[in-house]
Subunit: 130 residues, 2 copies
DNA sequence: CTGGTTGCAAACTCTTTGCAATCCT
DNA sequence: AGGATTGCAAAGAGTTTGCAACCAG
């Protein structure tokens, strides 16, 4: 939390109630939240402020945007290295994936790849036997 | 074209002008189109009809939905086996990728994976040297 | 002829913005 | 104090639906 507030100050932005609240919601989220999920957890903060705060955080590289299979745009704090997700359609849980194919695609295509997404969904080991 | 019209008939749907038009637009598209790109290429067809036609085609497995890095939902005919895409942010071209990591993720997670996306964007070899 | 389909218009949902009031520093 | 930020309200953009008229089989 403190670390992120420092980034705000460094870049000349103010530490305000809405920004602290959005930050704490994202810190407590154990999977990437949609905008409205963030909003629903920010009591007394206007939707527009949540929206603008998230945009600000993205521009400051505090937050990254995630697209999962359900086509909803989600957001997560940049606290660990980039990773991908797998979501269970049975119980809804979202897990991080420690596997990537970026380097192979770089070699294969010779592109200078700046963005990529790799997201999976299905039934987790528990749900698929039920 | 004929093959797809057969599927329509088999499933008890009528072969109409809007449906033929949407089909031909998708056949001529050399990359996945968004709904409005399809609409823009369907002169004299109402947006709602394009929309409902695409939904119908999805339910009949004639069309699949693609999410690319630009966050826009795109559609392509199911004519070849599933594949992924890489998009150049310089010249805009979209290429198919003949690489996938699905089996590795299956092994790693033991999920019964029913959906996945893997999309890349960046600068193609030509654009990155400019 | 007749039920499936279309076009139009309107309702929704989600995202984005202008502006006066308010809050950090 | 003074500029950045917020809340409100409304505008946009994209998606979805009800319904009367129309058309393919």
């Amino acid at each position: 939390m403190q670390k992120f507030l420092e980034i705000l100050k460094e870049k000349g932005s103010k530490v305000t109630r809405p920004r602290k609240k959005v930050l704490s919601v994202l810190l407590n989220a154990n999977y990437p939240f949609t905008l409205s999920e963030i909003y629903r957890n920010c009591t007394d903060i206007d939707f527009a402020s949540v929206y603008r705060t998230v945009q600000l955080f993205i521009s400051m590289k505090i937050v990254r945007q995630i697209n999962m299979c359900d086509k909803k745009i989600r957001y997560e704090l940049i606290i660990d290295k980039p990773h991908h997700h797998i979501q269970c359609n049975g119980c809804g849980k979202i897990e991080k994936l420690d596997i990537c194919i970026l380097d192979e695609v770089r070699k294969l295509t010779d592109y200078n790849i700046t963005e990529h997404m790799m997201e999976f969904s299905g039934l987790c080991p528990d749900c698929k036997i039920k």
